[in-house]
Amino acid sequence: MTANPDHVRMAEALLFAAKEPLDEASIAARLPEDADIPEILILLEKNYQHKGINLVKLSGKWAFMTAPDLSWLLQDERDQERKLSRAGLETLAIIAYHQPVTRTEIEEIRGVGLSRGVMDILFDAGWIRPRGRRRTPGRPVTYGTTEEFLIHFGLDDVRDLPGYDEMKESGLLNTEPAGLFDDIPGMGDRELDPEEEED
């Protein structure tokens, strides 16, 4: 079946006017009831595929964006970028790939305590959020990434993170403690249970 051209025009107008990526429900709510939203989106995506602007899906939502190969042209439009330290970037990557993950687990992976301000900066940037708690003694808070994170980094889903599937496959994303210091007397009696309560 083909999408009704009037509906396509409406969706096009909505997506162009949008302040933020729109989910399908938000598009559907503004279009006539019989509009075939998925069909319209597929068509629009195809129509704009080779243009200077493309229809892209970010965090499950749709938006028109400039084509990535033209970024050089748009230097002047660049947002002021946040300065992120190496520790900040690494911590963000660990949270993104390992979520939900506790602070202790982040430190375990990096092999060093999180210095002051790192989590705060990521939280303030709107990229991480508390997600739930582990069902372990102390019920530590777990962290995950936000929709803003996916939009900022141009991802539709966490599983689209580079190399995610391979890393998951090879066990690199297990949050179980490495057990490095478990077996020497007096060191590292930390107990961690990967079991958790999740959302």
Binding site: L14, L15, F16, A17, A18, K19, E20, P21, L22, A29, V56, L58, A63, F64, M65, T66, P68, S71, E77, R78, E81, R82, K83, L84, S85, R86, A87, L89, E90, A93, I94, I109, R110, G111, V112, G113, S115, V118, G126, R129, P130, I151, H152, F153, G154, L155, L161, P162, G163, L172, A178, G179, L180, F181, D183, I184, P185, G186, M187, D189
Partner: protein, 270 residues
Amino acid sequence: MADNKGFFDKKDQFEADDRPVPAAHALVVDLDGYEGPLDILLALARDQKVDLLKISILQLAEQYLAFIEQARKLRLEIAADYLVMAAWLAYLKSRLLLPPEEEAEGPSGQELAERLAFQLKKLEAMRGAAEKLINGTITGRDRFLRGQPEGVTVIRHSKYDCSLRELLKAYAAHQDRKGIRNPLRLMREAVYSVEAALERLENMLGKLPDWADLRAYLPEDLNSPFEIRSAEASTLLASLQMVKEGQLELRQSSSFGPIQVRSRSRKDDE
């Protein structure tokens, strides 16, 4: 540790390794450039130029120990994390070198070495991921949303816009204003530094009987669980350092059992 090096300074690029990685053999010892002991190990491991799962952990342990030794000779301040790793690697080294004991408890030296290699692999994976992430297609840097949006937004159930972050911050700001808690001062006072623990251990050593519970060396005036935990942690780290310096012996008869210490010189007297 180098925390505020802005990797976005250059705006358009991110280099995970823009600081020089000192090669061990060059005897460049600068702990400031590193983000913890695993970071050093990873840098040293890269010198071996093979897959992390195939590196010689024994060689790596020796390099690390030499590196820390060098730092100590230069009287650099070495954070406790690095010393804990040194103690563990010294232990690992002995396990790898000694013939495996029959019915030895716990994992073999080889198993421990594999754990370390895997741990390094995990960190390396995250390093690479961070780099790819920042070199990916970033919204507002590599591709742009419409410059003059006209206002269509996602339809939310609530017509009020409020994020979890705003809610948490509002609660925290309110708690701050109430001023009942002042964790800033409380926690500062509660922290018992490794230096203080070292000083106390050194002074007290030999004043207590042969094998004594490490807890006996804690200061007496601890009140809160915070203070006790902090003192325990620092005293343990201090004792590990003293073991390494040959001043002290440590033992623990069972997992989670009491940790006992005695002066090394005392043993020599026997």
